[in-house]
Symmetry: D3
Subunit: 132 residues, 6 copies
């Protein structure tokens, strides 16, 4: 199995609902450093898993829609805790939709699975991975 | 599959038995930077894999029992080489026992697997992972 | 010259005023990973620059007052852009005050200078350093 | 499952064929920081996954044959794009051959799978993993 | 003293002249991860050392001229060893010229010194720093 | 000013004397990841600060004498706390002696200053720097 990973980041504000979050129930924020991994069994005819330039651009576009935002004000996230885990899944779904739409090229349909990791500090991260 | 990871560290002395260890048969030591990963299929009602505050505290408690110790003098490890691999498994078992005892909350029983990684330098690490 | 550095982090929300900030004028947030360095010419009688346990605790206390906060709502910062540079200076001043108050021990008065670095992502950081 | 990983690096020149590579079609180069992971279900009698000293030496020997080379001039790679993915597989195959030849010791035959990761910058990496 | 740093990277081929370089006399290559630091005594009216967006763009433009190139073929470097140290200085001079040309804004003239660090692997780096 | 840095590591056991060390008074240990920096105003005729191959070898030799040792048993350190700060200075002095002895080549006498940093975990380090 081959994997290719590209890294980028975004910076947001948000708050959490639920006693277990303690002081994180207040409005605060985070930098998320994002690792986006693509996996497939065989390389394409160019010898790559995915067009890394295209992958980097798609990831950037998806993060731009979140960057410098207060996630509490985004309708799509209403009633949900935008935890690191949840945001990893959100970005996964966005990339998957772009692959399905052909935006990573026709060959990207051979990608079998992806993993999205969000590093929230030097001491904690969360990830979501699934087959496509 | 969702994953959440928290990081901490501990510092110990130990020695190894066996010719293959060469100079590491002498009493020496290590800093182990520990990454503890929890995995489950679905998030809980709060939108998390595990209460990260609780997970951090449990990991700290487990590492405190090892921190600043000479592992050669701990009865539980008698006759065993406390290699990085071995210590990763030891910490895994300790965390698993705490989950079984309910110390990470009732919802932590939904955790399906864990992985414990011990970084022993900038150039080497070992890990143990298993289902719960 | 000897230096000792300890690392911790905090997570905040804020917004900036000024056209140059572009989308960062919106309410957003950041994780700041903080490196706090102490410098002095000679070690103390214990062979250290500073009591690292005490330094770690003092840094934690200072960051706790900022952690999980919206910096826009803190009176002390009214009318100021809480940029990474600015926050590095703010933390520097807080630590300096604690040293002056004797909270790092009498011997900490021998510390000649400090440097505070705030990493805001994998690709950017800011620092403030000065003599004491 | 236990994993042990050792890290090393090599520096090469190469060029790519194919429009998708854009300016990377020109002769350029890369530093590849290599993480080589070995996996097995149970530790050997010494309590290790593999003799880490031996593993480090074997990896060094394999990388020496590539280090400071122009990959475009190596016959074995003729007609292939020596992408990060491709080179990860190449190194995997070399290590697998050394294990099969007994060069990591008789006990290394118990290694069930390996993963080779090549970091090409602070923002991208590729990997190949497979059973042995 | 305040410092702000931004990070980017470029990938090149080159060879060295001189016996001390051993196998690095052959055509090979490197990824250079670049840290560009700006230093000044006081923050500007916006509370920053430099417009970080502008700084990032200028650095990108300078690196684009080197990226995916064989440095042996660049006239400007003829007869020189394009070592990590040398390239750090080259990039320093380019950024300094852009500041002098006003490309980082009129306020950037207050920048007192800069430092450029090039990481060539996980185990080595070189830097050049000077007053402006 | 130019700087070149090489990285290596060593693993030791030791204990500290003095109440301020708390549990670190017990025999424990550490991995020290070492960054050794050389600084000079101008590059030599080859375009380098120092022969990096030679520097790496000298550092390795110095660390080998400490690696896998119990520092409490080394006569030279008797009556001293082998803190991270202290060990940074010790390694600095060893490298300086090797430069003075001509072991880094005649040109290494142009090195003006050095800095030795010992990382003891992901969250703490100490350094010693001085002119030569």
């Amino acid at each position: 199995m081959y994997t290719v990973c590209v890294r980028d980041h975004f910076m947001i504000a948000h708050s959490f609902t639920g006693e277990m979050f303690g002081p994180a129930q207040r409005l605060h924020g985070a930098t998320y450093v994002v690792d986006l991994e693509f996996r497939r069994e065989a390389l394409d005819e160019n010898g790559v898993v995915v067009d890394i330039g295209l992958a980097t651009r798609i990831l950037r576009e998806i993060l731009e829609r979140l960057n410098y935002r207060n996630l509490d004000e985004i309708d799509e996230f209403a009633g949900r805790n935008t935890t690191t885990e949840f945001m990893a899944r959100h970005i996964f779904d966005r990339v998957a939709a772009r692959i399905a739409a052909g935006d990573l090229g026709p060959d990207a349909k051979a990608i079998e699975s992806m993993r999205v990791t969000l590093h929230e500090s030097h001491a904690a991260w969360a990830a979501f991975e699934a087959s496509l």
